[in-house]
Amino acid sequence: MSVAVAVTVLFWVSVATLAIGLARRARLWRTGREADVEWAGLLAVPKRYFVDLHHVVARDPYIANTHIATAGGAFAALVLVAINYGLGLYAPVLDWAILLAAGVMLTGVYFVWMRRRHPPLRLSGGAWNRLPYTLAAFALGLALLTLVPSQTLSAGIAIAALALLLAGSAELALGIGAGGPMKHAVAGLLHLAFHPRPERFAGVRSTALSPLKLSNHDFGTRKPSDFLWTELLSFDACVECGKCEQSCPAFAAGQPLNPKKLIQDLVAGLSGSNDSAYAGRPYPGIPIGSHHGELSAAIVPKLIEAETVWSCTTCRACVEECPMLIEHVDAIVGMRRSLNLTQGEVPGTAPETLSNLRETETQGGHARAARYNWAVDLDVPIIEPGKPADLLLVAGEGAFDMRYQRTLRALVKLLKAARVDFAVLGERERDTGDTARRLGDEATFQSFAKRNIETFASLDFKRIVTSDPHVLHSLRNEYPALGGKYTVIHHTALLAELAEQGKLQLGKSPEARALTYHDPCYLGRYNGETEAPRALLRKLGIEVREMQRSGLRGRCCGGGGGAPLTDIPGKQRIPDIRMADARDVGADVIAVACPQCTAMLEGVAGAHAEVLDIAELAAASLEARP
C-alpha cells in the first residue's frame, strides 16, 4: 500500500470518526430545549464569521492574524486533502497547493506556539496547550508528504509523516467529537448559524431578556438540559480565550465569578464530567476540581455555586468581548430565574427588595405617592387621563434618593428652560420591574409590566424620557415583548436633541476641573448610546478625559443586575475599581448618567472625584449663561 493510499484511508477513517463524534456531541446539544431555529442561518455563516465574529476578534490583531493563518491554512489543506486524497486523485499540482496551505498553517501555528510560551493569565492551558504541537504535527505531516518526492521517500520518513498526520487527525477528528479544544471550530460555526439572538447579525444591539412562558411552567434553567439546545451548542464554541474574564467586573473585584469558567462548567455539565480538566483561573475563592455536573441534575450548587450566579452585575461586558458571541448573561439570568422562582433562594437584601416591590410597587418600600415629593416646589405637572403631554418623565426608583433628586431637579430645570411640554406620572408611577427581572423574579417583572402597560394605555403622551438607563432598557427593549411599545429616550439624548434644535440654550459650563465620563452599562452596552452624553458635554465646553474602558467597552460601576442587593463578598468593591480608573486619567469630576452609577460611585470611601450627573452639569451652565 502506497503512502498516498494510506493517507486516503486515514482521511476517510478520520471523517468517519469525526462524524460519529459529532453525532454524539450533537445528541448532547439536542437534550436542550427546542429553539426557534432558522435553518437559513447556515447560509449566513460566512458573513457572520467574516464580518460579525471577525469584528470582535480583530480587536486583538496578533491573534486575529494568527487565527487567519492557522485556521485558513488548515481549512484549505483539509479541503485539498479531501479532494486529492479523499477522492484519490493524487495530483501532484494539488500536493503543491497542500504544501502551500500547510506552510501557511505552520506559520500560524508558530505564532500560537509563541504565544503559549508566555500566555496571558486569562488564557486557559491544559488541552489547549497541546494545540500548537498537534496542529504542527498535522501541518508538518502534510508538508513532509507533499515535499518529499515519493521516489525518494524512505520508509522511515513515510512512517514519520503518517505518524504526524495521525496525531494531527486525532486532534481534529477524535478531539472534536470527544470535546477537545478543536470542537470550537465546528460548534462555533454552528453557533453562528443558530445563534439565540440572530438579530445581533443584523446590527441590532439585542439585549432584552426573553420572557418566560410562566403559564407553561417555564421557570428558568435548573439543569443543563433546561438551556435551549442552541445555548448548549454555544457553550461548546468557547475557546477559553478569557476575554470575558478580563472584562468581568465581579472577577476583578474578587467575587466568585469568572464567565469563562462558568461556560466551561456548563460544558462539563453538558458532558457529565467534573471541572478538574479546566485549566484556567478559578472563580475567585472557589477551588477547581470539586464540582461535577449532569445533564439532568441541578446546576446549583453541585456544578456552580449560587454565589457565582449572584455575583453577576449583568453588565454584558463579557458578551461584548466574546469572540465566539456567547451569551453569558442570558445563561446566568436563566439560572437565577430557576433559583428565584422554584426555590426562592435569593441572597442579601434582595428578598427584601422583592417583597417591597410586591407590597409597595417600589424597591425601597416607599409610598408610591412619595415618589415626586422632591418636585413639589418645582411645579411639575402630573399627567392625567385626558390631559396629554408631549413627554412623560419617568423618574424611577432614584426619585426616592436624596442624592439623585438633585439630578432630577436639575433635569426638571432644564426641561422648563427648554419649554418642553412634559409631565410626570406622580402616584401612578410604579417600578418597571427591571430589578426583579435581573434577580430572576420573572413573575414579578411580568406582573409589573402588565400593570404599567395598562397605566400607560390610559394616558396620552408622545415619548417617555427617563434619566434611569435601567428604566430605559426595560421600557424600550423589554416591554415590547409583553405588548408595550413606546418611544423611550434617555435624558442625555433628549437634552442633546433639545440643545441641537436650539430649544435648550446651554451656556459654557463653569466646571473647570478635569472630567471623565462613565458610560452606564444599560445606556452604553445595552442601548448603544455613547455619543449623546459626550455630545452634550462638548456642547457645555467640557473636554472628556476618556478612561481606558469607555463607550461600549466601559467598565461597570457594580450597580447592575441587583448586585448591590445580593452583595456577594469579594476582595474589593467594583465601584472602587471604577473610581481608580477615573483617578488614572486624573479626573476630578466623574460625569454620570444613571442613578445606580451615581449611588455606587458616590459610595466609594475616601477622597475621590466628584460624581455629577450630566443634567447637573448642564443645569449649572444655565446659571452661567450671559
Binding site: 416607599h366 412619595a370 415629593n373 413639589v376 416646589d377 426616592f400 434618593d401 436624596m402
Partner: protein, 688 residues
C-alpha cells in the same frame, strides 16, 4: 432615603409645602420707618428662600392695632394699607425661590411699655401690669374689644391682599388673646372672663372675624403656648382643652405650639431655649396639643439639628419643625441637606446673641454668621475672586476673627496660611466653652475648624508666629488676629504680677486650681465673669462675685441672665454688685480683697483664699508693631471703605511678598465680642 419625614410634603389648607422645616415668626427688628419691610427685611427672607426653606413666618408680633407701640422691636405694621405694597414685594421675592411666606399678627395688650410712640394706654383684660415689659395697662373696655377684633380682620385682609400665603394669629407669649385665656391676667367677671368659655370668647371672635375676612381657602394658623409654667397660669391640660375647642371651630389650619409663658424674666428665657437647656425641651407639650387636634401642629424651640428634626417628625410628635435660630445661623440648611453637605451646616449653638439683642431693641444678628441680615453687602456664600490674582494671605491667630479671615480668604481662591499658637483653633471661644452649661460655644469653633480644613487652609498649629516667620511666607496680605491677653494688670494694686490675684483665663484653662473660698471680681459683666464664678462653684468653691455694675452679669441679655441667675442661686454664689476692687493684699496664706462701694465710697474687706479677676482683654500688639512699618499701608484699614462694605483701596497696590498689606481684626485692635470679630474679618476679606 435620607430624612424621609422631613422631605414628605405637607398641606396647610391649600398650600403644599415641599418639606417640614420652617422658620417661625420672630422679631427681626429690621423693618423700616413706619413698620414697612424694606430691602434689608426682604433680603433676609430671600436668603432663607434661596436656601430651600419651605416656609417662613415673618414679622413676630406684628400689631394689628395702632395702640400697640412699635418702637422697640420694629415689627411689620399691619395697621395700615401702606404695608401691602412692600409686603407684596417680599412675597413676590421669596415665591420666586419657591418658599411660602406668612406673617404673625397680634395685639400685644399689656405686653409692651407705654413710654414711646404713640404713648398709648395699653389694654389688658383686667389691667394687671406685666412684669417683663413694665406694661402698665388699663382694663380693656368692650369698645376696645370690638375695635381690636375689627383690626384683626382688617389686618388679615391686608396680608391676603399682599399675596402672602397665610397669617398666623398669635395667642402665645401672653399677648392679648392669651391674656384673655390666662387667669393670671384675666380676672373679669363679665362674659369675657370667668369660665373657660368666656375667657376664650375674645380669641374665638378674632378668629371668626379673620376667617370671615379672608375666606375658607386662606391659611390661618394659631400660635399658642402649651403650658405657662405658672401656678396661677394656664397649664397643659387647660391649653389642650383650648386647642381642641379652637380646632373644632374648623377655622384654624395649623397650630404653632410653644412651651412656657413669657411674662417673667425667668419664663421668657425658656421661650427661645438657650444652650443651657436640653435639646427640644418642650416638644412633649407640642405633642400633647397634637393629641387633641386634627390639623398640623408646628413646633420650634431648641431644635437645631436636622437629624433631631427628622427624629421628632419620624416619631410623629409634631408635623413641622421650626428651625428659626438655626436658619439665622445658616439660611442654607435645607440646600446643604439636599446636597449631602450636612457637615457644612453652620449649626446654631443656642448662644442667643440674636434674641438677646432683640430684647434690648437692637437688630437681630448672629453670633457666628456676620452675613445674616446684611445680605445686601455681606455674602453668605463666598465665591472665588473673578479677576483678582491669586494672593498669598497670612493670617495670624486662630480665634474667631482669624478663622473667619482664613475661611473667607481661602474661599476667595487665595493661598492662606493660618498660624495658631495653641494646638487647637478657637481662641477665647475655647475658654468660653469651659464654663458650665456653656459647652456648646465650642460648636462655633467646630464649624470653622471643619471649614478651614475642608477648604484647604494651610493651618500651622502649635506655631507662634514671629515677624520673620510671617515675612518668610512671602505674603501679599497679612491679617493679624492675634487677640489679646487677660487684662489683669490694668490696676497694679490687684497684685496680679505678685500672684495675689489670678485671671479668669487661669481658672477656665485649669492652669490654676480653684481654691476653697474665692472672690471673683467682674469688671466687664459679660458672660466670662459669671461663667468663671459658676466654674469655680461647680468645683466646690465658695464664691462671691463682685462687680461695679448695677447687677451681676449686667451686660448679658434677657434670655441668658436668667439662666445665670438660676445657677447663681442654686450654687449659692454670693452676688455683690456696685463694688469696685481697689486692692488685694496678702495676710498669711490668705488674700484680702479691698472693695469700694460705687455709691458711698465705703470700703469693705473680704478675706479669701483666691482672688480671680475677669477684666476682659488687652490687645496683643507686638507682632503688629514690628510689621507695621514694613507694610505698604502701615497697617491701616480704610474706614470709609470698610464701613461702606467696599474693597480696601490698598488692594489695588502691587504686592509681591516683599511689599505686603497689613490689616488687624478682632480683639487685637480692641476688645470686641465674637460676632464683631467675625464681622471684622468678613467685611475686610470678602473683597480680597
Amino acid at each position: 432615603m435620607r430624612y424621609p419625614s422631613i422631605f414628605t410634603p405637607i398641606k396647610l389648607n391649600q398650600l403644599t409645602l415641599p418639606n417640614r422645616i420652617y422658620s417661625t415668626a420672630h422679631a427681626e427688628v429690621y423693618a423700616e420707618a413706619g413698620g414697612m419691610p424694606g430691602d434689608r427685611y426682604i433680603r433676609y427672607y430671600e436668603e432663607k428662600a434661596k436656601g430651600g426653606l419651605s416656609m417662613a413666618i415673618c414679622g413676630g408680633s406684628s400689631p394689628v392695632s395702632i395702640d400697640v407701640p412699635q418702637g422697640a422691636w420694629r415689627p411689620v405694621n399691619l395697621t395700615t394699607d401702606r404695608v401691602i405694597e412692600p409686603m407684596a414685594r417680599l412675597a413676590e421675592t421669596v415665591h420666586r425661590h419657591g418658599m411660602k411666606i406668612m406673617i404673625q399678627a397680634t395685639h400685644m395688650g399689656r405686653r409692651s411699655a407705654y413710654a414711646g410712640d404713640p404713648w398709648p394706654h395699653l389694654v389688658s383684660p383686667s389691667g394687671v401690669r406685666e412684669f417683663v415689659h413694665r406694661g402698665n395697662a388699663k382694663a380693656i373696655e368692650i369698645e376696645d374689644i370690638r375695635r381690636i377684633i375689627g383690626d384683626f380682620a382688617a389686618a388679615a385682609k391686608r396680608v391676603q391682599a399682599s399675596g402672602f400665603d397665610g397669617i398666623e394669629i398669635s395667642a402665645a407669649h401672653q399677648q392679648l388673646i392669651d391674656q384673655f385665656w390666662s387667669p393670671r391676667s384675666n380676672m373679669r367677671t363679665d362674659e369675657w372672663g370667668g369660665s373657660l368659655e368666656n375667657r376664650m370668647r375674645f380669641g374665638l371672635e378674632v378668629l371668626t372675624a379673620v376667617r370671615e375676612a379672608v375666606g375658607r381657602d386662606f391659611c390661618v394658623g394659631l400660635r399658642m403656648c402649651a403650658d405657662e409654667f405658672h401656678e396661677d397660669g394656664l397649664d397643659h391640660e387647660v391649653l389642650k382643652e383650648i386647642a381642641q375647642r379652637m380646632c373644632e371651630t374648623r377655622m384654624i389650619d395649623f397650630f404653632s405650639v410653644i412651651g412656657s409663658g413669657a411674662d417673667t424674666h425667668n419664663t421668657l428665657a425658656n421661650c427661645m431655649p438657650p444652650m443651657a437647656l436640653p435639646p427640644e425641651p418642650f416638644v412633649h407639650l407640642a405633642a400633647g396639643i397634637k393629641s387633641v387636634v386634627d390639623v398640623p401642629v408646628l413646633h420650634a424651640q431648641g431644635i437645631r439639628d436636622i437629624t433631631q428634626a427628622e427624629r421628632i417628625l419620624a416619631n410623629g410628635l409634631v408635623d413641622m419643625v421650626g428651625m428659626t435660630r438655626a436658619h439665622i445661623a445658616d439660611p442654607h440648611i435645607m440646600k446643604k441637606v439636599r446636597e449631602g453637605r450636612e457637615d457644612q451646616i453652620r449649626q446654631c449653638v443656642g448662644a442667643n446673641y440674636c434674641i438677646d439683642r432683640m430684647y434690648s431693641g437692637s437688630d437681630t444678628l448672629c453670633v457666628q454668621n456676620a452675613a445674616t441680615s446684611r445680605e445686601a453687602t455681606m455674602p453668605h456664600v463666598i465665591t472665588p475672586a473673578k479677576d483678582a490674582r491669586k494672593r498669598r494671605v497670612v493670617v495670624v491667630g486662630g480665634g474667631p476673627a482669624g478663622l473667619e479671615a482664613a475661611r473667607v480668604s481661602r474661599s476667595r481662591g487665595h493661598d492662606v496660611v493660618l498660624f495658631e499658637r495653641n494646638s487647637a483653633v478657637g481662641g477665647q471661644i475655647n475658654l468660653a466653652a469651659k464654663a458650665p452649661q456653656r459647652e456648646q460655644m465650642a460648636g462655633i469653633v467646630r464649624w470653622f475648624d471643619l471649614e478651614t480644613k475642608r477648604l484647604g487652609v494651610d493651618r500651622r498649629l502649635d506655631t507662634e508666629a514671629t515677624p520673620e516667620m510671617v515675612l518668610s511666607e512671602q505674603p501679599d496680605i497679612v491679617v493679624l488676629a492675634t487677640g489679646g491677653r487677660s487684662f489683669t494688670d490694668q490696676v497694679a494694686n490687684w497684685g496680679a504680677k505678685d500672684g495675689l490675684s489670678v485671671s479668669s483665663w487661669d481658672i477656665l484653662s485649669e492652669k490654676v486650681a480653684p481654691a476653697e473660698n474665692v472672690l471673683i471680681y467682674d469688671g466687664i459683666s459679660a458672660h466670662a465673669g459669671f461663667g468663671t464664678a459658676d466654674f469655680l462653684a461647680s468645683r466646690g468653691a465658695t464664691v462671691e462675685i463682685v462687680t461695679p455694675d448695677a447687677k451681676v452679669s449686667d451686660d448679658v441679655g434677657g434670655t441668658t441672665f436668667p439662666i445665670f441667675y438660676r445657677r447663681l442661686y442654686a450654687q449659692g454664689i454670693i452676688p455683690t454688685p456696685n463694688f469696685w476692687l481697689d486692692r488685694v493684699y496678702a495676710e498669711g496664706n490668705k488674700k484680702v480683697a479691698v472693695l469700694r462701694n460705687e455709691y458711698t465710697d465705703e470700703l469693705e474687706e473680704r478675706v479669701v483664699d483666691q482672688v480671680v479677676i475677669e477684666n476682659g482683654i488687652t490687645p496683643n500688639t507686638e507682632l503688629y508693631t514690628s510689621l507695621k512699618d514694613r507694610s505698604l499701608n502701615r497697617g491701616q484699614v480704610d474706614l470709609a471703605s470698610l464701613y461702606a462694605a467696599e474693597p480696601q483701596p490698598a488692594l489695588q497696590e502691587a504686592t509681591d511678598g516683599e511689599r505686603f498689606l497689613l490689616f488687624r481684626v478682632g480683639d487685637c485692635v480692641s476688645m470686641h465680642n465674637i460676632h464683631a470679630a467675625i464681622y471684622d474679618s468678613l467685611r475686610l476679606c470678602k473683597d480680597f
